[in-house]
Each structure stands twice: as C-alpha cells, then as structure tokens.
C-alpha cells in the first residue's frame, strides 16, 4: 500500500457493492489490532438495522449490509460518528477472552522446519524453543480457513519472510511461523510458512456443539513438551491434545 500520513486513519472505504471497510492502519501493530477488535465489538453491540455481518482482519473491520435498508451514505455517516466518539487505539481488549496453554512438540520429524527457522533467526534450536515456547501471543484475526488464527506478534527476531516454495502439506494442528506471526492450522494444507511445532489442538470441529475453539482476542502459549508426551496427549485427548483454557479477567 502507498504510505499514508497518520491522519488518514481510521479510513472508511467501500468493499464491492454491499460492504464497507474501516481500516485502522496499513501495517500490523498492537494498537491497531486492539482498535479493530474494540470497534467490531461496538458495532455488534449497536446492532444497526441493515447490517448483515461484521468481521475483522488484522487491522480492519468489514461490514456487510443490505443497501435497501441502510444506504451507503447513512452507514458511512454512522461509522464516522462512531469513530469520533473515542480513541479506538487506546481501547481495552474485549471481555470474555481466554488464555489457552497448548502442549506443543517443537522440531523432530513432527515439525521438521524448526532448525531452519532457528537458523534464520540466529539461534540454536534450544534457544528457539525457549523463545517460541515462552511467547504469549494473541489471536490477531481468524481467517483464510475455518477457525484458523493468526497469532502474534512475536519478537522482531522472528520477522522471517515466507518461503519462496510451498511446503506441499502440513498436518492439522501444525504451528507455522513467518513475519512475526504463528498460524495454527485447522486442517491439512500446503503453506509458504515454516512448520516449527505440532499440536494436537483441533480448533475447528464442524460436527461439535462449539465448532470454533478460538475467538479473536484470545491468548495462547505453545508450551514445549517432549515428542513422547505429545503422542500420549494426542491419544488420550483427541480433540484438544491437552490444551486447556482459563478466562482472562477483564
């Protein structure tokens, strides 16, 4: 994106025929992601007549609406009014968030690209496991595939580019890394990111009562376990792989 002066944000633009996008920044940052989550929550609470759906990406809120009920001018005016009521970049994270601790095996044949990622970050494998395993990351957005979180930010040492080649397939529960973020895969998929960890955490179970485990704003830590312990956990707890959640006090 071309560079914008700070005053350009938040920015309201149309999306296709029946959508609007409120963008808080053109690069990922803590405050802009915070603003995104808070603003979407506000829109959901407002329940504007004619709004059909809202969703967040890393730094934007998307609003799909029925222009026969709520036309573009009125929605735009309403969004501008709402944006001006407070400093969205300073808002608290939404309540009802959870903190997940997810047993993760780093490296081994189950996550074969740890060594390569550690090397690219200038660390030994042991240092990489310490660094990644102690990081507490947040669900910045959910997307691309059902229930699948983008998690971050990791420290600047993990600002690794995507691979030029795709890894043909990583399994469900794979923890992959690029550009200071993890993605935890909800299904087996090809990826251009590096497969550094493997979890047994099934974050999307379409047949279950609660098909989506995670919500934007939830926090996660991928705690290192041995390969043997991981396999035992996966067997005894097929859905969660030993992942446990606690409420984060508001």
């Amino acid at each position: 994106m071309t560079s914008h002066v700070a005053s350009d944000f938040p920015m309201i633009r149309t999306v296709g025929l029946t959508g609007m996008l409120v963008t808080f920044a053109d690069a990922l940052s803590e405050p802009s992601n915070r603003a995104t989550l808070a603003f979407r929550q506000r829109l959901e609470a407002l329940g504007l007549d004619g709004v059909l759906e809202t969703a967040t990406s890393l730094a934007s809120v998307y609003i799909r609406f029925d222009p026969a009920i709520l036309d573009h001018h009125r929605l735009q005016a309403r969004l501008e009014e709402e944006l001006s009521t407070r400093d969205w970049y300073q808002q608290a994270l939404p309540p009802g968030r959870r903190f997940w601790r997810v047993p993760t095996v780093y490296g081994t044949d189950l996550a074969p690209q740890l060594a390569e990622a550690a090397d690219a970050a200038g660390m030994s494998e042991a240092q990489a496991i310490d660094s990644l395993g102690s990081a507490r990351v947040r669900v910045l957005t959910i997307g691309f595939a059902p229930g699948q979180p983008y998690l971050g930010p990791l420290g600047p040492e993990w600002d690794l580019p995507r691979q030029t080649e795709l890894t043909p397939m990583v399994p469900r529960g794979a923890l992959v890394l690029a550009i200071r973020q993890f993605v935890l895969f909800s299904s087996a998929t090809p990826t251009g990111w590096r497969h550094v960890g493997q979890t047994g955490f099934m974050i999307f179970r379409p047949e279950s009562e609660a098909p989506f485990a995670l919500q934007a704003g939830d926090e996660l830590q991928f705690e290192p376990v041995s390969r043997a312990d991981f396999l035992k956990l996966r067997e005894s707890d097929a859905a969660m792989g030993g992942a446990i959640a606690e409420e984060i006090p508001a």
Partner: protein, 343 residues
C-alpha cells in the same frame, strides 16, 4: 423415504444451497451454489423455497434411480437428460416414478448443471447449510451409492418450463471499484477494461482464471499489503498480475490486491464460462451497480410467474410413437404379439 439413488456420478458433484452467510469472522466463506440463478430457477419450476438444496453437477451428470415418485427440475448448464431412455427437456420440471432411471450426460454448454428435487435435497445441515464446502472441511463430493433424500413435498405440478438467461459462454462482466482499486494506476484500470480475456483452465468453485495477451495488471507496492477481507466477485491479481475472479468458496482473507468486484448478478456467468470463453470487464459506478443488482434481484423474485407449461410441438417429439395419444389406440410399431409388462 423418497430419494434418488446415485448409480453413476461425475467427479465434481455436490449438494449445494445458498451457503453459510455470517461465518466470515470465523474464517468460513459463504460457499453455496456456483450458479445461484440456477437455484432460483429450479425453485421456481417446482414452486418451492429457493433456500432448498439441489445437486450441483460440474461438467458431467450421473445416473440416478428413484426409490419413490418424485418431482424433479433440471437447470443451469444444459446437459443431455433422459428418463428410462426418453429425452427430458432441460430448464423444466418433471415427474418420475419409483424405479425409473434418470440419466444426465456431460454439459453441452457451460459448466454447472443442477438437479432439483421437490422438497429439496434433505441431507443433514452442518453449521446451518447443506452445502458441501470441501476446502473448509465441510461435507464431500457425492459418490456412487449415496442416497439423495427428498424433503417433504406437497403433490405439486410438473411440466413447467422457464426461458433461461444464456450465461454459459462468457460475455461482459460489470465491475465496481473496491477498497484496493486505487492501488492500480488509472491507466492499468483502463487497460483492464479494454482487454479481451479468455477463461483459463484453472477454475473451480473458489475462483476462475482469466488469460490475456500482453503484460499483467500490477498494483503499486503489491507485495507489502496486509491481508484483507475477500468478497465474492473480487478480481484478485496474483504475483504476476494475472486476474482471478473469486467465487463464493474463496478463502475469507487474502494478501493479493484486488482491482475491483464483479457484481453478484454477473457471477453465474463467471462460474458457467467454459474454458476458452471470451470475457470482458466493464467498470460501472457504485450507483449504477446498485441499480443493476436491484433490477436483477426483482427479476429473480418474479421467476415463479415466468414459468409456463412445457408445450411441445409434436414435430419435435422424437418419441411421439411411445405416447398414448388416444386411449386404446394401438401403436403401428408395437409388436401385436407382445404380452406386455416388460417393455
């Protein structure tokens, strides 16, 4: 249970309805029928709710046997269809009896043909829809041996037909500017609209590739864009500036920039374009786009009133002699010594 048993089936057949709106924030794109107009046409022909599910057949049909009397309708890409060997009109509704065999061949034009059942296909909904969304891990392709159960169907009329809009050979797609259009310089946007594209060979329910001679259509700063929401109709430029028109089963977010968004009413034309079909894009203003879509939505609601009885000119009926035109008359071709029952 009233059902169709699947005896033979093409590789790209799946149950589809209007999809799963409202799960974008959970990373689930809406999905649903590739040609929603065909869904509405089938519902109109059977006098039922357009939200009911039908069988979508990509490129190739199948062979089915009815376990009980059923009403059916055939819409979308025209395919050769026969019932126990007798030709069936496309874009029409028919009654079939228990044990009768329905054969649907390859698409003669277009890509996606639809087989509708009176009462809809009544498979178990998952997350509010019966649509298979294979990329999302929801449902699967229909396979030999499957039963397609029909929902409750009131005895209703059949033998209706509808003049179908020809959307099977490409043509003009109307497109509005969207939030990333300004990333493409004006001369690139103009050249995009002046270019004649053909539908490439890479096409599925997620998106359709557009090929053209000459240079690609690149955005400024293309590789540094944050991933943003994707909506159906978005025309995404890949790294080498080649356009893909994204359909309702595309991923929910993406980092490739999008030059604009094709109007929803023109998306059946994208999904149904055969490889090699010629396609052009025409920019319309947001205001104009809203009017075009509104008129289309009204036409869709009026479809039930556009259905009329399927009257055939006897000269066109190849199986005329199998019709009992006068009660008790004897066919000139019938074997007078046949004892009947096993014709």
């Amino acid at each position: 249970m009233n059902a169709l048993k699947v005896l033979k089936i093409g590789p790209a057949a799946s149950v589809q309805d209007g999809g799963r709106p409202g799960l974008l924030d959970q990373g689930v794109s809406r999905g649903g029928a590739a040609d929603v107009l065909a869904l509405a046409e089938g519902a109109a022909l059977l006098r039922q709710d357009p939200g009911l599910a039908a069988l979508e057949m990509g490129g190739m049909g199948g062979t089915f046997e009815a376990t009980a009397p059923l009403r059916i309708a055939l819409t979308g890409a025209p395919m050769a269809a026969t019932l126990d060997g007798a030709a069936l009109a496309w874009n029409a509704s028919h009654r079939i009896e228990a044990g009768q065999r329905l054969d649907i061949g390859p698409a003669r034009r277009g890509v996606y043909g639809y087989l509708h059942l009176g009462g809809g296909i009544d498979t178990e909904p998952v997350l509010g829809s019966r649509s298979a969304h294979v990329a999302a891990g929801l449902g699967r392709a229909v396979a030999v041996g499957d039963l397609l159960p029909a929902g409750p169907d009131a005895p209703g009329e059949t033998g209706l037909t509808l003049a179908a809009e020809d959307r099977f050979q490409g043509g003009e797609l109307r497109i509005v500017e969207s939030f990333q259009s300004a990333l493409f310089p004006p001369d690139v946007r103009n050249r995009f609209a002046e270019t004649e594209f053909t539908r490439g060979s890479r096409a599925n329910r997620m998106g359709v590739e557009m090929l053209s001679d000459g240079e690609g259509f690149a955005a400024a700063g293309q590789l540094n864009i944050l991933s943003e929401v994707i909506v159906p109709g978005d025309v995404q430029m890949t790294g080498d500036g080649k356009p893909f028109v994204l359909l309702r089963e595309a991923q929910t977010t993406g980092g490739y920039p999008r030059i604009g968004t094709v109007l929803p009413c023109d998306l059946p034309k994208v999904a149904q374009a055969q490889a090699g079909a010629s396609i052009r894009f025409r920019w319309v203003s947001l205001e104009e786009g809203l009017q075009i879509q509104d008129a289309y939505d009204r036409a869709l609601r009026a479809l039930p009133g556009d259905c009329h009885p399927l009257l055939r000119d006897p000269a066109d009926i190849q199986d005329l002699l199998s019709y009992q035109l006068v009660s008790g008359a004897v066919s000139a071709l019938a074997d007078p010594f046949a004892t009947g029952g096993d014709t």
